[in-house]
Symmetry: C2
Subunit: 219 residues, 2 copies
């Protein structure tokens, strides 16, 4: 499965690329914004394409042509303002979804955010633009006609060990944190799993092995 | 026709309310954000409801219940940042569209922005969040199933006289400015006109009377 990772240079994106590079099931390619970000991906043997998701939709479509699946893991992060949140986290996602459709790429996995369908829980106020962006990006994906899976982790940590997880429909049942490594490993598991198509998985650290948590959630 | 004007206290919104108050075809109500904004609408004999479109969707739905048509003329303006642009211009519009659907209100007229489907023309960079918000709000409306009309004026002026206008599908054919009064009068004209359902009208000052410009555009 040829996979393009949009936002590959983010912390979660790098973990996805790295884990896929040692798997026999995936041929990952990193979509990165800057030439100097290539070095990391060269070092783990993952090819990379330099293109910004702030580019026009047609340009993004050209960049992701020929892949079997898209993983959207891009985000503007906390260091920039709401202008970049709407441009990258939301509009970048919308254009990526349209680009996947235009290329006939049916599989799309989104790294979302826990609680993004729960506006009553959007705290603090400074995070509201981020939640709105994630909420609307997922809304777009859900009616795109693509075979989507949306993973919505809670607060991310840098723990190297993925550990055990919990997947719920109701984010109020979750624990407070989850290692990025667990999100990345979950992505590798759900990507080829048709039972996860059309599912929205709110997730945190928990009591089940990743495979077990997915199997229990999809029923 | 009972009309709720969302964003009624804006410059265009006030003109719409004022023009409707002297018409026999409309019963306008102003949706406003603050109690102290009531005074103007009292003075022109237009009832008002105080509710913020930053509220939850269900709250907005309750506020606009019982109307025959929605006009969305709200915007956060240039004095606040991109956080308010995404919250008001975009998410406020999305919630208003969902609220109209939930209430079975089929008619929805959007005050949009010229060029918002032309990302290659989004200048200056500081305006990009605004254009993205208007682009995505209109995208939402177009697939809502509502009987929508989207008016997309160019740069607005305060000229009291509406004057003549131009309506085009291609915004590159437009002139540079248009009086807010012309936008307001055009809204009163298109609102009951079924031929304008499903139309996106890029508009500026021009050479045709408003009725004539609409008739020519809808064919």
């Amino acid at each position: 499965m040829k996979v393009i990772i949009i936002g590959a240079n983010g912390k979660v994106g790098r973990l996805i690329a790295q884990k896929m590079s040692t798997s026999h099931d995936f041929e990952p390619t990193a979509l990165i914004r800057k030439e100097e970000q290539k070095e990391y991906f060269d070092s783990i043997g993952v090819p990379s394409i330099v293109e910004s998701i702030e580019s026009q939709q047609e340009t993004i479509a050209k960049a992701i042509k020929g892949f079997d699946a898209v993983i959207f893991s891009a985000g503007s992060g906390g260091a920039t303002g709401a202008d970049k949140t709407i441009e990258v986290d939301l509009f970048g996602a919308v254009k990526s979804i349209e680009a996947a459709k235009a290329n006939g790429i049916s599989r799309f996995v989104m790294v979302g955010a826990a609680l993004s369908d729960n506006p009553e829980s959007w705290q603090p106020a400074s995070m509201k633009p981020y939640y709105i962006a994630k909420h609307l990006a997922d809304k777009e994906l859900k009616r795109s006609g693509l075979d989507y899976t949306i993973l919505r982790p809670v607060l991310l940590t840098d723990d190297e060990k993925a550990g055990k997880i919990r997947i719920e429909s109701d984010p109020n049942l979750l624990n407070n944190e989850i290692p990025r490594a667990a999100v990345a490993e979950t992505i590798l598991e759900v990507l080829p799993n048709e039972k996860t198509f059309g599912k929205v998985m709110e997730m945190s650290a928990g009591n089940l092995e990743i495979k077990e948590a997915i199997a229990q959630f999809v029923g």
